[in-house]
Symmetry: C2
Subunit: 412 residues, 2 copies
């Protein structure tokens, strides 16, 4: 099949910007849908020093933009994506063929209005959609090229702040000295918090949605189920499945199914499926007897076509490691001391993965340093996934907050 | 190793009571800890017709008793066990070497006082501790012996009412015409409800704890994760792993880990582990970095030593199928019409698997038929597992309820 090149009209010039393949060689290509695509990206030959102390020889950041950067370069909004999402926020996803994950939110006249704002979304460090990750060729740990084979599980464990540092390279490359806003939900919200803590002068407004300042023991436990399921798959081959020509599909599917349950509320599952039997003929222990089961199995099997197991391991672990207070001697407010950033915190009432109490704790820490903070709990029965869905209250709130900030920032 | 025979002092005489091996042949024995034990049991050659319409050629029920049956045979309490528990409620478990699962509740002077009551606990139909289940030799579906091989996944899908029917055979065999009480938590509570619905005249008092009248879509989904993980294990061999000399240990461990998270509350996990790193040296995606992970892995690996994967499939599915209202044209109260049984419903405030609202719905249905019902929500932060743990409020409540019922039953 012909490789499809996703190159934006406003692709940056200079540097080594271009269409980097997301994987090092065709021999490794066990994922045609992932492999046939070359993502718009920029490579930073200076590399990046990570929280773990290791240095990546070079870093490629794959990204997409929507709208137009104004002359003052003051209207840029960075979107930070969640665990299994990617840079294709507001256009058809080239891997899945589906609409962008935030099409409902981003576009002309939409709450994040691309007629007013220049919207940037990049694939996170450790990802599998063009940014440096476990599929990238390895180095020897001291910044020299190594075997040229993919890192696999040897990829240095990145953190959420590391993801933000990679995004910062991109923002600098685009010549943007201050982001008008950084917005993201779930792990995207963690990145927003890390942006506000690491680069307060570069963030005019921050919108962490359905997130927390640390990953809870329960959430770590759910991630660990997924990792164990992947590691238990006989096709995992200790992370070297690419060179074996296979993928740990069933393990990855179980991981996805587990995570998916945590993304939806009990109410949403009950409304959608209840106890609807789809296979009332005869009873059996295996097989999709209930509608909710075939739905979950579909979620699992479609996921393995678009995501890489080693990236799943790396990114879930990055989320688990996130603990902003711990990085500041256990005092969360210290992360935001003196901040001038305007915050909008949003939680959803039925989100049991990142419950409202965790957003409230962030609001409290921001209040302790007299930050400018708004906090809204949106009433919703859609669970954690609500931030991606049609929630008019959330959309109105975000639209209004951005309009207010635009006035304060002199954007209008 | 010598086979250990667990035969109670008060083992029933007559019938074909005795020590039946839990599995058909040594060649199938891939589970030494499960296999080396012969459980006290009674075999009913008349078999049992199941909800699915199939008939089991014969049924063996493994059970244990504590205390002494009085002359009037009026002081018997049946305990119904939860998903992965067994008949060893109040004594050392011969497989695990650990105390009985309800040692804290059952014994001389304890809330379920074996100096007053004769306590019976049997392994459920479909189980792996001596009662007929997937490890039993198969028949041909019309009630004739077949290959003599274990059923495996061909074991007819049993239901919670089927479990109760098997228990009823045992109770009749013991010459008990009316149980003073039937008590159980979680799936045990479902059995209690089924007892009250199927045999109201045989149940003086019923105590369904931390349970529901149907299994929710979310709970079905969690079970489905476990079943998928087992089916994905290369050592599952479509349920014929015994004859291959292997066990789907990693899949079963993932299933157990998933279930275990649902048994504990977020508060309990946070209190016990928080975000305690146990392996702060170096970051990696796999390996037990957080204390909660090694705890989960321990839960998973110890479980595979004491439980059989096919039984796990069968029993989780039986729970999923439970829907007492559906069995009565969608009207839950119809299940209890005219009941004279005295009910005590107990829920735990932090139980998110079987939340209080589900017990409240049962109480409402019982009120609709003017049943004698008490309902207590115990304040606890221990989650679903609270019914097995030291919860003084629960223990006081149950002790008091049984004492009151004993008066009404003329037991004192």
């Amino acid at each position: 099949m012909a490789k499809r090149l996703y190159e934006a009209a406003n692709a940056p010039k200079g540097c080594t910007a271009g269409a980097a393949s997301a994987y090092p060689g065709a021999a490794m290509d066990q994922s045609p849908t992932l492999a046939e695509i070359q993502h718009q990206s920029v490579t930073f030959p200076g590399g990046l020093t990570l929280d773990c102390g290791r240095r990546l020889l070079e870093v490629t950041v794959a990204y997409r933009t929507y709208g137009t950067l104004n002359a003052a370069k003051s209207n840029a909004i960075l979107l930070c994506h969640a665990l299994t999402l990617d840079q294709y926020a507001a256009e058809q996803n080239p891997v899945t063929g589906k609409p962008g994950w935030w099409d409902i939110m981003v576009g002309p006249g939409k709450p994040i209005d691309t007629e007013r704002y220049f919207v940037i979304c990049s694939n996170v460090l450790g990802g599998c959609m063009g940014t440096t990750g476990p599929r990238s060729p390895n180095d020897d740990g001291s910044g020299q090229p190594h075997s040229g084979q993919p890192w696999g599980t040897e990829f240095p464990q990145v953190t959420v702040p590391d993801m933000v540092r990679a995004q910062k390279l991109l923002i600098d490359h685009l010549g943007i000295s201050r982001l008008f806003a950084v917005i993201g939900g779930s792990m995207g919200g963690m990145q927003v918090l890390a942006w506000a803590a690491l680069y307060p002068a570069q963030v005019f407004a921050a919108v962490p949605v359905a997130t927390a300042s640390y990953h809870s023991a329960q959430n770590i436990a759910f991630h660990e189920i997924g990792r164990q399921a992947i590691a238990a798959d006989p096709y995992f081959y200790a992370g070297r499945y690419w060179s074996e020509g296979v993928r740990p599909e069933r393990g990855l599917a179980v991981a996805r199914m587990t995570a998916h349950i945590t993304y939806v509320s009990e109410e949403a599952l009950a409304r959608k499926f209840g106890r609807k039997l789809q296979n009332a003929e005869g009873l059996s222990a295996l097989g999709d007897q209930f509608a909710v089961e075939s739905y979950l199995q579909y979620q699992g099997s479609s996921f393995v076509q678009r995501f890489d197991a080693n990236s799943y391991l790396t990114i879930t672990r990055a989320m688990d490691l996130f603990d902003l207070a711990a990085d500041h001697n256990g005092v969360l407010s210290a992360a935001f001391k003196g901040t001038k950033t305007r915050f909008l915190l949003v939680s959803f009432s039925s989100d049991w993965l990142f419950p409202t109490a965790q957003s409230r704790a962030i609001a409290r820490a921001l209040n302790h340093v007299a930050a400018n903070v708004s906090f809204v709990e949106v009433q919703s029965d859609k669970g954690h996934d609500a931030f991606l869905l049609d929630e008019p209250d959330f959309h109105h709130t975000l639209r209004g907050f951005l309009a207010g900030c635009a006035e304060h920032a002199g954007l209008v």
